[in-house]
């Protein structure tokens, strides 16, 4: 079925040739040069990774390849796909190129698919938009047959039935497979994958990366992989282009780049990537620390249910979890999305109600939660939210936000409050003058520090940090994590550190708990859980985490396959 589709660009020249690309956006505050001068090429059958932090212009570059830039952008230079310059071709010609010569895989599979059409229809839509080699329109029946074929290629079991399914009937990883199938439907020579695994859990990510590698090996499809995750790059890419501030900083083959980075920026970037097993907080420990102190959080068979819709049973987000957090201890809670880790954190802060078992926070039984009786305890609990951009009221200054807990609980004079805010900002290494700024004037990392300052202003005994660094760039994340570690040692608060990133959790936590579908499957010392996992799920989780080192990653990949098949 696929053999009769024409396959342009099978010659020896590059599939994609970007030459001195410049992209400028018109914004309210003048022009923004998103891409300054980028030249790169992609050869047939090659996986080129474009890496960079947010704002580096990598996504803009990717969108230019498909001519998907918004109206406010102007681009200069050349983007050649099989001899067509995407920047200058007519709209009709561009439509021909899209899908046939180049296709795109988006970041979020759940929004890239239209929920009201079957996946088969959506894959066929692209096929039917293009005539076949002889110039005839493709019939609906044939398009569907090709859609089945495409689904088979990406490893969807039983594609003849599944082709009639709607997107909600697939899991997140399968949806991404469907998106890839749609991209593959016309056998384009080039696939642009914009953060294809960022929205996926790490175990699913490993499978999608496997699939992309297979496609390249079997069908010779070139892939432009846009990502910020150095582990993904090490796993999949042949060649890497590092971008920073709209410019190409370094270009090298994957192995060379990871082994001998030339530019300072690349070195810094690679050094900042958390690496599982290095820099573990529990290094050298053999038994659980801080057990002499008071137990601040004690969960016994904790169950948290979300009420179901009429007729459907309640959803158990947390199912019989038992753990304790003692004074001064950092407890790391790891799990994939939907494992209930955030629910536990929110329950401890009184944002979610518990429905069964027992959860004692500073001696208060959360099962009988009443805001009025819990309020006095709130000053002992700090909370750091995931998204630093959203956790500050945009209308208040940083000083007002940080001082808020102080004002609510101890009603200080403005001068006292100001002094205390200044002290706290300085302890999170922000200048005290930042108190007068508004949240949008700070960078993500600075905001997260301010967020930490707010959580610590009342000297709490317990801090709950819910994915505090997952919205940050990797180099910023490294700095914030380091600061976090220092401050924890200095203030000595107990901490529940919630994250999906094993390496990050290992860097900070003395004791680690692994959650899977609401159950605590394993807990133990950080280095033991990471180094010698006992439970099958933990083994799979750790094996699927890509490390930023191509050779080591190749070995780990083999190990992961072994775990999968065992």
């Amino acid at each position: 079925m696929t053999t009769n589709i024409d396959r342009p660009g099978t010659g020896s020249g590059p599939v994609l040739d970007i030459d001195h690309l410049k992209v400028t956006f018109a914004t309210d505050s003048g022009d923004v040069f998103a891409v300054k001068d980028v030249s790169l090429e992609v050869n047939p059958g090659e996986v080129l990774a474009i890496v960079g932090e947010s704002g580096s212009g990598k996504t803009v570059t990717a969108k230019t390849i498909l001519g998907l830039l918004p109206e406010t952008a102007t681009s200069q230079g050349a983007v050649l796909i099989n001899g067509n310059n995407v920047i200058t071709v007519s709209a009709a010609k561009l439509r021909q190129i899209r899908g046939r010569d180049v296709a795109m895989v988006f970041q979020e599979p759940s929004t890239a698919l239209n929920p009201v059409y079957t996946v088969g229809w959506q894959i066929a839509e692209g096929i039917r938009a293009h005539a076949d080699t002889s110039g005839h329109k493709i019939s609906a029946k044939e398009a569907k047959a090709r859609a089945v074929e495409a689904l088979r290629k990406v490893g969807i079991p039983d594609p003849e039935t599944r082709v009639n399914y709607y997107p909600h009937q697939f899991s997140g990883g399968q949806k991404q497979r469907v998106v890839i199938a749609a991209a593959l439907a016309l056998n384009p020579g080039l696939i642009v994958a914009d953060e294809p695994t960022t929205a996926l859990d790490v175990t699913v990510q490993a499978e999608i990366l496997e699939l992309l590698r297979d496609l390249r090996d079997k069908y010779g499809t070139s892939i432009v992989l846009i990502t910020h995750n150095m582990g993904v790059v090490a796993d999949l890419a042949d060649r890497v282009v590092v971008m920073y501030q709209g410019d190409v900083v370094e270009e090298a083959s994957s192995r060379v780049l990871f082994a001998q980075p030339k530019e300072d920026y690349t070195k810094k970037l690679l050094a900042a990537v958390p690496h599982l097993g290095r820099n573990s907080a529990s290094e050298g420990m053999t038994e659980r620390a801080h057990q002499g102190g008071k137990v601040l959080v004690e969960a016994k068979d904790l169950t948290i249910e979300y009420p179901g819709r009429l007729g459907s049973p309640a959803f158990k987000a947390v199912d019989g979890v038992t753990f304790t957090v003692s004074e001064g201890e950092v407890f790391g809670l790891v799990g994939e999305s939907g494992s209930g880790k955030t629910t536990i954190g929110r329950a401890i802060a009184g944002l979610n109600r518990t429905t069964g078992g027992s959860l004692k926070v500073l001696g208060y039984e959360m099962l009988n939660f009443k805001e009025r009786t819990f309020k006095p305890l709130r000053k002992e609990i700090g909370f750091v939210f995931q998204d630093p951009a959203a956790s500050f009221n945009p209308q208040l200054t940083i000083g007002d936000c940080v001082a808020e807990p102080l004002i609510i609980h101890s009603n200080p004079s403005p001068a006292e409050a100001r002094k205390r805010v200044g002290e706290l900002l300085e302890s999170v290494q922000l200048p005290a003058s930042y108190a007068d700024r508004f949240p949008h004037e700070l960078s993500g990392g600075q905001r997260q520090r301010a967020s930490l300052a707010r959580a610590l202003i009342l000297n709490p005994k317990l801090l709950i940090a819910d994915e505090p660094t997952s919205a940050l760039d990797v180099s910023v994340q490294a700095v914030v994590l380091e600061l976090f570690k220092e401050i924890q040692q200095q203030f000595g608060f107990a901490c529940l550190f919630i994250s999906h990133d094993l390496a990050v959790v290992d860097m900070l936590s003395h004791w680690v708990g692994v959650l899977y579908k609401g159950k605590m499957v394993e807990q133990g010392l950080g280095n033991q859980v990471m180094g010698n996992p006992q439970h099958d799920y933990t083994k799979k989780l750790i094996a699927s985490l890509p490390v930023p080192d191509p050779d080591e990653q190749a070995r780990r990949r083999e190990a992961f396959r072994a775990v999968l098949h065992s």
């Binding site: 914004t27 923004v32 009184g350 909370f383 939210f385 609510i408 180099s475």
Partner: protein, 339 residues
């Protein structure tokens, strides 16, 4: 770091005021629409404010030193837009009508904003039975044709008699009954959205009281669309007022000049070739509503980054604005320097 300090500062208050900030961000057709709307709206405001100076006669004046005004007189130097069947001077009544319309808009919209915002905040934040009851009431009010509701309210409040303020209040209250649900809905929806924002949760976690959360964190963020609804509602208020007047439920001609009432009295004139009694008040309604709507709609478009037009990139050399990469770079480097 300098780049962020300088560029990140708030602009002077003047430039952050609703209409002025919109004017500054607009280009091309959108700016044209906004300017046209502003000119018409300012014209309306000036007319309302200066009515005693502009109008040659009072709104209920039927005679002057030279005797009683003739009825249905075509435009002449003494009565530049003619006179009505009752002998009123059309020009004077149109000018005074602007004042009536202005007062009604202010009273009606202010009443509905206060009530609507307060109810919306409470209902959205606390939810539960209070929310459900208020939403049902708002829906019930929506189900009535707004003019019918205004008529009913006008009868209930007014009982037919009307002094100047009595008439104005009756009209304003009947209009606000229609508008309160609108403000209520907008603020309630915003409140429900903001309630789930991390910064509101963060305030909850530190133990802030409900009053504090609503007043400090939700109110200011939920009311940012109000200038927009205000302008759009103002034009609707004028239409409702004119409708009430046209149907005979408005303000008596001896209490205040009112465009709708004048239009009503002009119906019979139209067929007998007396055009001036209907055209001028009608045009006044159209232009005022058009002006206010244009201002409102342009603000709506300019508020939304996706609808807002911009100058083409590269048309002028940027001077390192807030979004420029130079600023971002400086911030990033500052970030990296901090150990």
């Amino acid at each position: 770091m300098n780049a962020t300090t300088v560029s990140g500062r708030k602009q002077p208050l003047l430039y952050r005021l609703p209409v002025i900030s919109h004017f500054r961000t607009s280009v091309g057709l959108q700016r044209g629409m906004l300017v046209t709307g502003l000119v018409l709206a300012v014209l309306f405001l000036l007319t309302a404010a200066l009515a005693p100076i502009i109008a040659p006669y009072g709104f209920a004046q039927l005679s002057d030193a030279s005797g009683t005004f003739p009825a249905q007189q075509p435009p002449s130097p003494a009565h530049i837009w003619g006179t009505t069947v009752s002998g009123y001077d059309v020009f004077s009544r149109v000018i005074w009508g602007a004042q009536t319309a202005f007062v009604v808009i202010i009273v009606a919209v202010v009443m509905s904003i206060f009530l609507g915002v307060a109810l919306g905040l409470l209902s959205g934040y606390f939810g539960g039975w209070l929310d459900r009851t208020l939403v049902v009431i708002a829906d019930a009010i929506y189900a009535f044709p707004s003019l019918l509701l205004a008529i009913v309210m006008s009868i209930v409040i007014n009982h037919g008699q009307s002094s100047f303020w009595g008439g104005i209040l009756a009209c304003s209250i009947s209009i606000s009954v229609v508008f309160v649900p609108q403000y209520f809905r907008v603020i309630r929806a915003e409140t429900i959205r903001l309630k789930a924002e991390p910064y509101v949760e963060s305030a909850k976690v530190v133990g802030a009281s409900s009053v504090r959360i609503m007043g400090r964190h939700i109110f200011k963020n939920a009311t940012r669309t109000l200038p927009l609804i205000f302008t759009l509602n103002a034009s609707e208020a004028i239409l409702t007022l004119a409708g009430l007047g046209f149907l005979g439920f408005g303000i008596e001609p001896s209490s205040a000049a009112e465009w709708g009432y004048d239009l009503n009295k002009a119906i019979a004139d139209a067929s007998s070739g007396i055009w001036w009694t209907g055209v001028y008040p009608g045009t006044a309604i159209v232009l005022t509503v058009l002006g206010l709507t244009l201002v409102g709609e342009s603000m709506n478009d300019l508020n939304d980054p996706r609808l807002r037009g911009r100058k083409k990139a590269g048309s002028k050399v940027p001077a390192g604005g807030p979004g420029s990469t130079a600023g971002a770079q400086a911030a990033l480097e500052a970030e990296a320097r901090m150990p």
